[in-house]
Symmetry: C2
Subunit: 147 residues, 2 copies
DNA sequence: CTTGTATGTGCAAATATTTGCAGTTCCAAG
DNA sequence: CTTGGAACTGCAAATATTTGCACATACAAG
């Protein structure tokens, strides 16, 4: 169900207005699928509605994040990416050398994580953790480099 | 041992030049302690050497990160922070609502994390993970808000 | 001590993102 | 259907960070 109709309901019932810009942006995020940048969303939206502004895209994405409809994913030195929250809960392994991003299932990591930080009264976002480190290839290179 | 002499040795032996700017920046990071922003580093450095440029600070901090001498810590919507890597290994709990950052000991999280992602051939940065979520206070507020 | 040159720096412009503000629009109430 | 006002938007400027480039300098070799 990659239809964004339910999402627009969430916006309305949270007391926010349903503007054409928001609908276009929702459609873009749902249609494009996977990870998208604000710039990509804008490009898609402008095909239907040329006068939408980048700042509106950012503001709307931020709104969708706060409503839990999409998730923000930011890695150092590259534009933020967003994805619909209906995707399977998962975490990201971000390679600090090559920048590659790999997805891993949320479980059992989330459960372990939750238990460990619970002692601090903290409620982690269990469904979307960015783990930085080295992927297998870069780790191998690093070792041979040092030797 | 908050002396940065060893750090300058690391720079030299990694084949990088030991410029006055780099020494000033090292001193700033070690002297200021805790989490510092590029702007704070610049302010401190300029007390001794007024013509150092912000971009040099960024480039140097980046260099120090790649040498493992300091760690970068970035949270959405706020300037990056850096800290000397000699501090106790720990993770950060970042509250998505109030932005507060709390530190938790690296263990036992790091060990668990390493075991879980090992299956993907991934080598995580075990000493510095940013866990996003809600702190106790904001979580309580969120709940009362919904009710 | 001099010198060549790769490395590093300052500056200014580019990139990514946020924000202030004045004008526009959605939509609840009449 | 009209309308008032809070919510929203576009625009331009601010903020955080990176990058291209020409000039400067650390330092290895002579």
């Amino acid at each position: 169900m990659s239809c964004y109709h339910q999402a627009s309901e969430v916006i309305r019932s949270a007391g926010y207005r349903l503007t054409p810009q928001r609908l276009f942006i929702l459609e873009a995020v749902y249609h494009l699928g996977g990870h998208v940048t604000a710039e990509q969303v804008l490009a898609y939206v402008q095909k239907s509605s040329p006068y939408v502004d980048l700042s509106t895209v950012y503001r709307t994405l931020e709104l969708l994040v706060s409503l839990g409809l999409i998730r923000r994913f930011s890695a150092p030195n590259r534009p933020n990416e967003y994805e619909v929250a209906t995707a399977e809960p998962h975490h990201h392994l971000v390679c600090l050398r090559c920048g590659r991003v790999e997805a891993v299932p949320a479980e059992p990591l989330s459960t372990v994580l939750r238990e460990i930080v619970a002692a601090h009264g903290f409620t982690p976002d269990e469904t979307h953790l960015a783990i930085h480190g080295l992927c297998a290839e870069c780790h191998a290179q690093e070792r041979s480099h040092e030797a």
